[in-house]
Amino acid sequence: MIELRFHRELYDGKSVDEALKIFGPHASFEQAEETAHWIVRLSAADGAREKRVAGELSNYALGLTIAAQAKKLGRAEKTTATAKQEAK
């Protein structure tokens, strides 16, 4: 069993959930929460597969988090630009 700890300040919760849905068929997952982390425990048929799924899952969750952050930032910038234009 491999335990992955996703820090709440670094990972978007929805992104972690989405990644778990995607990788659901490849391993069995157990979810837990701590004050600072989302915890995912995963187990697969063998150690190599476990390691691979854990790595791919963490990459996927990180990628979705970064995309979500970029979207949020873009939306904020768009709002600022619109507000400035309206002020003129």
């Binding site: 670094l10 990459n59 970064i66 910038e77």
Partner: protein
């Protein structure tokens, strides 16, 4: 286990997991730079971020295929550090130029709204100078060649005169 030629308090290598850990100071590298650098490395290795302490981010890199050896680990962490520095610098430039970018974008958006309405044209102040012209280049033809009072010789040239003086005589064929 420390890696050769890299600071042991910032970089460590876990030979059991075949992963390299890099501690990043949040004061030097903003989170968006860490994200950007991590995103670049996602296709090459597995990247996991964590916060072991406040003001610090830990980046864990592990190989997708096989295990990381000493030299490969050092190379990977070196490339990641360079990418991180590049991303931090780009992020700072973007932050400094944000006001300019927003101003240009706002102007472009207002220009894309189309032709002004009659109300907007009515409210427009045409008394403003269109632009500064310290060399007098934008002077009108009439102003430039106006007939001066009390100067009988001075006559306003016609556009044809202007063309004749500026034209170049063509060389005759055969000479």
């Amino acid at each position: 286990m420390p890696l050769e030629s890299l600071p042991s308090d910032l970089v460590s290598f876990d030979d059991q997991d075949g992963a390299v850990h890099l501690k990043v100071d949040d004061g030097l590298y903003p989170l968006e730079a860490v994200y950007a650098a991590a995103y670049v490395f996602i296709d090459r290795c597995y990247v996991l971020l964590d916060k072991p302490a406040s003001g610090q981010t830990r980046v864990t890199l592990s190989a997708k295929k096989g295990t990381l050896a000493g030299d490969a680990a050092r190379e990977l962490v070196g490339e990641f550090s360079n990418e991180l520095l590049s991303c931090a610098w780009r992020s700072q430039i973007a932050r400094e130029n944000r006001a300019t970018i927003e101003a240009v974008t706002a102007q472009a958006l207002s220009g894309a709204r189309g032709a002004p309405s009659l109300e907007e044209l009515e409210a427009f102040d045409f008394s403003d100078d269109a632009f500064e012209d310290p060399l007098g280049i934008a002077m009108s033809w009439e102003e430039k060649y106006a007939k001066k009072k009390g100067d009988p010789k001075a006559t306003a040239p016609t556009p044809n005169d202007e063309a004749a003086t500026s034209s170049v005589t063509k060389p005759e064929a055969g000479k």
